[in-house]
Point group: C2
Chain length 208, copies 2
């Protein structure tokens, strides 16, 4: 029986290591595909449409909104950013687990359209470590770091909406554990409907 | 932060391999404890109270019922069988994941008293394989096997009440996968309340 993919939404504090984890999942295992967002902003040098983003016109984006072609979208600095539904569904049908990085408001919108989506929240082991990582980048001012910590405090309010907390302490261990959590999620009854139905029919046939 | 154990309820069709899986979890990993049931039946030669069962008198068992000292209990062939709450709670407090094998009615009673319990349903990969395993034992009459298959068809009605389906195809793989599922379950927000609370407090302190 062919197994359908799961839509995986990854959120977490800035500095929790979401990006690295997602890249590692895709490179270490064969079952993942990264969702490619659609945007109206102009491509930067080297960016390729369909790889970094699907680059489209404002008209095209608004047509997608009108036709309910996006899983979620938001507007930022006068540009639209969104997740094309067709691409996600195509990958899921192929059996790929599609990973989508998005903040909490977007995550909840996704869950509404895809109730079987798996919502993961990535955290460092403690707040001191989060601060250390933000400072360690060495590229941000104290003001920016403080703003991010404040934003983290706000985001922490929504953690209960997620299915799993992923603690990113040791990267290698975290990648393996995150993969385990996703593999386990394939085996919840709501995601195994076909298998359960098949087993029931076979057992009923025996019982006759 | 010390992690509390999870109460794990294992159900599944007769012939699905529950007993073997549970024994392997306990022997392969250090985090498990098997729940020991209480019964009013007489010990058989070689059985030790506190190992196979806690053997008690009818009066003692009924006292436990009256004092709400059992997670669940049932009566079978004029004897009581039940799960002592004190033993389970003691092991959970120690951080042990306590495994309890029980059928669906009992499993749902446990879930009521321990909402954070994890309910696992063990299945063979398909019904033909279940039949083959039941026949393969070679110890049962056709009548008994048919009865078990019929019972399996009835039990299959309740699968959606469980948190995870565990497919027992290859034993080694299944033990590892079952362990992964349980490790993942430790990281749901409802089981990480203390960790989330701690993170929130620390972040709030930074944000001040």
């Amino acid at each position: 029986m062919k197994r359908k993919g799961i839509l995986i939404v990854v959120s977490g504090f800035s500095g929790a290591g979401k990006g690295t984890l997602m890249k590692r999942l895709v490179s270490d295992y064969e079952n993942y595909a990264l969702s490619v967002s659609m945007t109206t902003r102009n491509p930067r040098p080297g960016e390729v449409s369909g790889r970094e983003y699907f680059f489209v016109s404002r008209e095209e984006f608004e047509k997608q909104i009108a036709e309910n072609g996006l899983v979620e979208y938001a507007s930022y600095c006068d540009n639209y950013y969104g997740t094309p539904k067709a691409y996600v569904e195509e990958q899921l049908e192929k059996g790929k687990d599609v990973i989508l990085e998005i903040e909490i408001q977007g995550a909840l919108k996704v869950k509404k359209q895809f109730p079987e989506a798996l919502l993961l929240f990535v955290m460092p082991p403690n707040a001191q470590e989060l601060r250390r990582r933000l400072e360690g980048r060495g590229t941000e001012t104290k003001e920016v770091i403080d703003k991010r910590l404040k934003r983290a405090a706000e985001e922490a309010e929504g953690i209960e909406e997620y299915d799993y907390i992923v603690i990113n302490d040791d990267l290698e261990e975290c990648v393996r554990h995150m993969h385990s959590v996703i593999m386990a999620a394939h085996d919840t009854p709501d995601r195994c409907g076909d298998l359960i139905e098949k087993m029931r029919k076979e057992l009923e046939a025996f019982a006759k």
